[in-house]
Symmetry: C2
Subunit: 281 residues, 2 copies
């Protein structure tokens, strides 16, 4: 990450953690406080909060206005990881170098922590000190991006279609739901926080969808570099090869960048789009 | 159920099912449609929707205004049953005479169906054709009643404290969260749909909390009549005995009824409170 973007990101991460820090402190039973906090303060890169804040600032909004949206999206992302790691889904024991929630605590706790984080995402939006219209628009966007028309639908598609996917269109459709919808929501909800106009929202929506795709393409290249699993899940690299996947990631990121150049303050969004695809080079 | 209440309930149930019927029809992958619908159209009594509609009508609101609130609360109730039935929680194979979701489909599907229903509850509220202020008030109420400060918190308390509960205050606190919060939310959100004043909301909140408690007391009497499990979870009957539990259920229902008599059209709420405690006599 370039110096200036890095400094800005550190400020956002610090404010973000400060925003969520006091939450759940007085949860009862008190034994629930630790499992609730464990996955939220577990070393995530906060990609979605960074995008939400950058989108808010791109239309002239203050950073703090985007915090509830950033927090809600990050909690939805976090709950999805907690549930996905469970034995009945991916059965992963480790995440970010630490035991997963169902390993550090137990399966029932992981189930309830996920449920609580998902529910609290909507509480945070509804409690925010912004106009009711903005809060409703946030809830609508997040619930659609996270539910059966978005992330959960993509997860279902991934589980049911899984290794049978042989064409790029289906793979892209699954990813657009599973990871793309929430990334796009982060950007759009950040823009709503900054009171983006309808035209600006359309630009941010396009940017969000394209950055989400670029992110996935670049991720597949990174994974392919690390280890090659011929029997693993389908990926862009398997269908397109590394050079073409890398080329597409760059092209899609460039389209995202071209779109936001019409916004008043697009600099950070441009840097984030570049960072998304340059992580691997 | 008395004749008039019964006829009204049937109308509400029919409209309620018609409200939810078209939803998820175009879910993708199409294999997700059946598991989503399975627990929602699974023979539930729709107690919470009935309460929401009755509360809306008690302040002069039309039935249809309460439907999004009724649906959202019922979906939250439904998701909680799907997740609670899973092997890592109560491990129940049957519910309402049918295999539970993880038995009819599989565990991963049950997890995702629950997540999707919970998320969609908030989408339904945000999409409703009522003022933004009402939608935000709904989301705030439901997210608090369903999350760590409500139902999930009560579930955690039930799991962690469980059989160690020996005093009536702790038992009541657990039940107030685990089942009471959502019943109270159903009533209050129905009132909000009918544009209840602050004073009316306070009355409905008191009624909801008391009907929730009466419901639990009466349920414990019903369970005690059916079979006696000395090693089962703590219950009001175990701590108070059947006669005193039955007396308290009646007394609390009467308090709920006394409270709503100040509302313009309290008849159905009164009948529902009576029905709650008379199911067992």
């Amino acid at each position: 990450m370039a110096g200036e973007l890095n400094a800005w990101s550190e400020i956002v991460r610090r404010r973000f953690d400060a925003f969520l820090e006091p939450r759940w402190r007085d949860a009862w039973p008190t034994s629930f406080v630790a499992p609730m906090r464990y996955p939220v303060f577990g070393g995530g890169k906060r990609v979605r909060p960074l995008l939400a804040v950058a989108a808010c600032e791109s239309v002239g909004g203050r950073m703090d206005l985007a915090m509830p949206a950033a927090a809600a999206v990050e909690l939805v992302h976090t709950y999805s990881l907690v549930h996905d790691d469970m034995p009945c889904m991916d059965n992963d024991d480790m995440r970010r170098g630490r035991p997963t929630v169902h390993k550090a605590f137990d399966e029932g706790t992981a189930l309830l922590v996920g449920d609580a984080l998902l529910t609290d995402a909507f509480a945070i939006l509804a409690e925010a000190d912004v106009p009711a219209e903005t809060r409703v628009a946030w809830v609508l966007e997040l619930s659609r991006a996270a539910g059966w028309r978005g992330m959960v639908g993509g997860q279902v598609a991934d589980v049911t279609l899984g290794s049978t996917i042989k064409d790029i269109d289906t793979l892209q459709r699954v990813h657009a739901l599973k990871t793309g919808a929430l990334i796009r929501a982060a950007v759009l909800m950040g823009g709503m926080a900054g009171d983006a106009s309808d035209a600006q929202r359309a630009i941010l929506s396009e940017y969000g969808a394209k950055v989400g795709l670029a992110f996935q393409l670049a991720d597949d290249v990174l994974d392919a570099d690390q280890d090659d699993k011929p029997n693993g899940p389908p990926s862009y690299v398997k269908l397109l090869g590394v050079p073409e996947t890398r080329r597409r990631a760059r092209a899609v990121a460039d389209e995202a960048i071209a779109a936001v150049k019409k916004l008043p303050f697009p600099k950070t969004l441009i840097e984030l789009a570049n960072y998304t695809v340059q992580r691997d080079v």
